[in-house]
């Protein structure tokens, strides 16, 4: 790979041991993917996870003296102070989250603790070269904004933040951004939830090819686009999609395929969505809780739930995970009061895949997010997956 003098300096240790380790990893990555050179990145996001590998690597970089040249926003761990008020947090988990916070601060990250930085605080422009990790983020950056990122791991994104560079390959190159498979959506897409199922169903049929959707509604909400990307990238490794007439690199079908023919054409029917739904949901029955916000809910979604529970009483505990900014706004708008009066709450700076939810292990909940259900298998949490409205009805009845 061709490196500039400055990049060679990083590799030789001229900028310290931490930068050297980061550059070494990036050169190895570049070699695997035949990158010709490095390119500067202007934005980064690190999918902090507050788990062993995450903490091990960021502390290793801090101890080696690394400091981010491009300060990344970061994913949530959990809101220690909030959970200490409602449940017991073990000494070990307390120590881990405090160490995680400190390490990311020391390495020079911006401690946003949210998984939707692309909606607020870290929003790229069209064509910008970036390095985002977090499965709902990469498709949004590539598809909705037309900015460019590979499907970074938390660690490779941190390396990019430290060196301010990324190897030039994959989705950073024009030719790799073209659509590969035409997805004709015969199923009726009625709401944001149907985008979850659509996103989950597609990788099963086309593997990890870049899909070009036709015949979906042409004014999907931000939540719909977020859901579609999050599930495409959970059920498979699909960090980019096109929707003809919606996303900026797909004004027309020809545009999306960059003039080539689709490698394949698939259809997604009502039955496909039903089948995927049956496959991922646990069976109904008595429920103990409702959990939303994987990815973090935006203010419109919070408002929607708030309207549904206004003046009503929930039978089971309901949590909405969101960013601290959205929580503050929800407070200002009165949504937080409404939710709390009904027996629910908003939790900021928190991911569902964290030990703070231990009080829900072994229990059954409802959620609108297949991604939430998928990753909590390890935590022995069961999820019935439904659209938000049905989830709320279930939370009021205590069963589904």
């Amino acid at each position: 790979m061709q490196l500039t003098e400055e990049e060679l300096g990083m590799l030789d240790g001229k900028y310290g041991k931490g930068t050297q380790i980061a550059m070494k990893i990036q050169v190895a990555l570049g070699d695997v993917f035949n990158a010709e050179r490095m390119v500067p990145v202007s934005r980064t996001h690190v999918a902090l996870s507050n788990q062993e590998a995450d903490l091990w690597f960021v502390e290793k970089m801090v101890n080696a003296g690394a400091k981010c040249r491009v300060s990344p926003t970061v994913n949530p761990g959990f809101n220690l102070e909030y959970f200490q008020c409602i449940t017991k947090i073990s000494k070990k988990d307390e120590e881990t989250i405090l160490r995680t916070r400190k390490a990311y601060k020391d390495v020079g990250a911006t401690l946003t603790f949210d998984c939707t930085p692309y909606l607020e605080k870290n929003v790229p422009r069209f064509g910008e070269i970036t390095a985002y990790s977090e499965s709902s983020a990469t498709p949004f950056i590539n598809s909705v904004y037309g900015a460019r990122t590979n499907r970074e791991s938390a660690q490779s994104a941190l390396c990019a933040a430290i060196t301010g560079r990324t190897p030039l390959y994959g989705f950073l190159l024009d030719e790799n951004r073209k659509g590969q498979v035409l997805v004709d959506v015969k199923a009726k897409i009625k709401d944001d939830f149907d985008y979850q199922l659509l996103g989950y169903a597609v990788p099963k049929k086309l593997k990890f090819k870049t899909p070009v959707f036709v015949n979906v509604p042409t004014s999907p909400s931000p939540a719909a686009l977020m859901n579609l990307g999050a599930q495409l990238n959970t059920a498979g490794n699909v960090p980019m999609y096109h929707i003809v007439g919606v996303t900026p690199e797909a004004r027309t079908v020809e545009d999306a395929f960059q003039g080539s023919d689709p490698e394949n054409v698939i259809t997604i029917t009502e039955e496909d969505l039903e089948k995927v739904h049956d496959e991922i949901t646990d069976p109904g029955g008595k429920i103990d809780f409702a959990l939303f916000g994987c990815p973090h809910f935006n203010i419109d979604q919070v408002a929607h739930v708030s309207h549904l529970v206004d003046q009503k009483q929930l039978k089971v505990k309901l949590f909405i995970m969101t960013s601290s900014l959205t929580k503050e706004l929800a407070h200002r708008m009165g949504y937080l009061d409404t939710l709390q009066a009904a027996g629910g709450d908003i939790v900021d700076d928190t991911c569902m895949d964290q030990p703070c939810w231990e009080f829900l292990y072994g229990k059954k909940g409802v959620t609108d997010s297949p991604k939430c259900a998928y990753y909590t298998k390890r935590r022995n949490m069961q999820f019935v997956i439904r659209n938000v409205d049905e989830c709320i009805e279930a939370a009021m009845r205590g069963e589904i």
Partner: protein, 134 residues
């Protein structure tokens, strides 16, 4: 009889071990770190242990966070695979493997895929890009 196949280094290392084949893509987070048993529903390896195996599968999958966490936990518990033979490298799996020092190769001769069976004993030299079925 020993047969040698060419392959391409993703992450360096030289190791010997027994083959375990997976027709499905793999997310290391959905493997129990205490036992190395795959816990993902409907996965072709569901209920089987990947501990100490040289794992052959098409590609990694799963979010950008959990692949590294899963791999790290398996490494720490000693229940991880010895090496990986993949078809489609992705950034997450590649970066995780390099950081965890897990030998990984791709671009293996098509011949290899036609011959290899579960339990075959293999010598994998990722660093120099070759692979032997013993």
């Amino acid at each position: 009889m020993t047969e040698t196949f060419a392959c391409h280094k993703v992450s360096e290392g030289i190791i010997e071990g027994d083959i375990l084949l997976s027709s499905d893509d793999l997310c290391f987070y959905l493997v129990d770190p205490k036992t190395g048993v795959v816990i993902e529903k409907n996965h072709s390896l569901e209920g089987q242990s990947i501990a100490g195996k040289i794992l052959v599968f098409p590609s990694g999958k799963g979010s950008s966070v959990v692949q590294a966490d899963g791999m790290y936990q398996l490494k720490m518990s000693g229940k991880g695979p010895k090496a990986l033979i993949i078809k489609y490298p992705d950034t997450v799996l590649v970066a995780s493997s390099i950081i965890m020092e897990m030998p990984v190769v791709d671009k293996v001769d098509e011949q290899f895929y036609q011959q290899v069976k579960n339990g075959d004993h293999v010598l994998l030299d990722a660093t120099n890009g070759h692979l032997q079925i013993k």
